[in-house]
Amino acid sequence: MQVDQIMIVGVNHKVAPVEVREKLAYTGDCAHPVIEIGKIPGCKECCFLGTCNRVEVIFSGVDSEETVKAVRKFLFSRSNLSDEEAKKYSYSYTGKDAVNHLFRVAASLDSMIVGEPQILGQLKGAYREAREHKSVSLILNKFINKSFTVAKRTRTETNIGGSAVSISYAAVQLAKKIFGKLDNKKVMIVGAGEMAELAAEHLIAQGISEVVVANRTLANAITLAERFNGSAVSLEELTAELESVDILISSTGATDLVLKKEDLKPLMRQRMESPLFLIDIAVPRDLDPKLNDLDNVYLYDIDNLKDVVDVNKSERQNEAGKAERIVEEETLKFMQWLDGMEVTPTIVEMRQKIDDIRQAEIDKTMAGLGELSSKQKRSIEAMAGAITNKILHNPILFLKSDTASVDQQMKLQIVREIFGMDSDS
């Protein structure tokens, strides 16, 4: 009997440019993609994952070129590409390769920014929708759930999502290393600029309570301050304002220094030596490099932050290697389970399970009965054996029968569930 295979047809940022990706099927289509895919002959279960960087159709069914082609056709139905071209811009995996692929996707090893955590949430969402449309059952349920655990394992056992790989996020992490929690902290933005705003946004997301904006033109400061629900001051008030600021992000276009060591030094005593984290994103620099010599002042300029990011990136690459090994290992384990999803191994496994129970119960009974003649022992064993054989007779017949009305996978699922054969995970 031909066993069902797991297959994936997909497109991601590596194989297709955005012009192609934007013309693919997506979840917003009036009929949910899983309904359409479910109609394709040879496709039994399916799940549809669509994000801005990738579209994946995860399905199970009989492995045939026609099925894959039909899925691909559906995927590219909104574009006017021929199947030849569509093939070029997509990939298709079967069996072990498909398993490995989804595990890598879930673990964020296939992402544009390796280790970014959103993909797992997106996959969970896709799975939830597939469940709502009842387009997944035994195999994909097990498969996709397994991909979640694999992703979780790579996160706990490696540091793949640990270190910041963008400048603004690196600044947030540093702030956390200095202040611990960021709530009740006050941040000041000097000047304007995309990166300063981005860093401020990150900090606010981390619970920063107060934002002050200082700018040469007060009007600009007010506009920006409104965006962050903060207050605005002019550049002249900067030093005075610093008395209560914890984090300062500077990115003015000024050619000379905005803050010098001598300006800040007397303030540190008034600040009761509470720490000050200075982030200088401007080129040329706004903040006096000598500021870092002051106690409890930590100054990072753009190059320092870039260095942090570079170190983190190479570290993340190392961690990705470790995660790949976990994915390999889990792929093999999952393939073993999948192989067991055929009739013969299931019968063997079921028999083993019942035999174990029989043996355990015989041992327990024998121990309680005291001295028995070997004839008595034999008849007890024979009785137990007869009971188990008779119980197993019908389930085995059920599994071996080749009725077209009941799906083979369904039969396996029923038997496996009744006998609790997949309860370990």
Binding site: L174, K176, K177, G180, M272, E273, V311
Partner: protein, 271 residues
């Protein structure tokens, strides 16, 4: 029960090794093992101290061997009880190293049982000596916190992230840890001095006679009192607090050992 001492020492060495392995690899399972070993070591240590109590017939904190061992014991349980309240990343590694060093020192001192000098035959002995040693234990934890602070701050300040940046908690958390340890340590130190003074009145007829040990205990007390006071009024926190907690602990250790071996005086029994 003397055989328990080497077993205790060995368990501490084992716990420290496990904590160092955890420090290097940051695997949670290793930390659980390390904690387990430290906990077991703490229990064996307790049994060993009780055993010695039965053996010598008085609270075993008179000889240098006994008091340093008690010091290490107090530090272990101080840390374990602390951990129950709140957690500071990788603090265990530093504490276990410190405890092991103390235990090795304790092993180097003579383990012979000496009869109790008449002046020490008092109910004040267990009270005063154990409070003073527990004060040392918390001050030692503050010392560990101070070292951790300086290591972490050095990496943040120099912008060169080495082995500590990731492993140690935030500067804020380390400063809080330091303060927490010192607050408890300071209260115990104060109580230690007060009980000592009450006992001195009973044994020698005067509350205070500027014996070297008394003087140095007072110097230590002033260092910590200044730190805790100026923390509130002048913001002596963080780096300064870390440095002062290291200086204060050095003074406390001088009170414990330096005075006994270098300065003498009537208070110097242990040896």
């Amino acid at each position: 029960m003397t055989f328990l001492f080497p077993i205790t020492l060995l368990s501490y060495i084992l716990a420290t090794t496990a904590y160092l392995v955890y420090f290097a690899g940051q695997k949670k399972e290793v930390r659980t093992v390390a904690r387990g070993i430290l906990f077991a070591a703490g229990i064996i240590h307790t049994v060993s101290i009780v055993g010695r109590y039965v053996e010598v017939g008085h609270t075993p904190i008179t000889s240098m061997h006994e008091s340093v061992s008690f010091f290490a014991w107090a530090m272990t349980w101080g840390f374990l009880s602390f951990r129950w309240r709140y957690q500071v990343k990788n603090f265990g590694t530093f504490v276990s190293i410190m405890v092991t060093i103390l235990m090795i020192l304790s092993a180097l001192f003579s383990q012979a049982v000496v009869p109790l000098p008449p002046a020490l035959r008092s109910n004040w002995l267990p009270i005063h000596a154990s409070i003073a040693l527990m004060a040392n234990a918390f001050l030692a934890m503050g010392f560990c916190g101070g070292i951790m602070y300086l290591l972490q701050e050095r990496e943040i300040k120099s912008r060169k992230f080495g082995i500590f940046y990731k492993r140690l908690p935030s500067l804020e958390a380390l400063d809080n840890l330091n303060h927490h340890c010192l607050s408890i340590g300071f209260v115990l130190l104060t109580l230690g001095i007060i009980t000592g003074s009450l006992w001195a009145e009973q044994a020698w007829g005067a509350y205070w006679q500027w014996d070297p040990k008394e003087t140095w205990a007072l110097i230590t007390w002033f260092i910590y009192a200044a730190l805790l006071h100026f923390r509130l009024t002048m913001g002596w926190r963080r780096r300064r607090a870390a440095i002062i907690s290291i200086i204060g602990f050095s003074a406390a250790m001088f009170t414990l050992w330096g005075v006994t071996y270098l300065l003498g005086g009537i208070h110097s029994y242990a040896g």
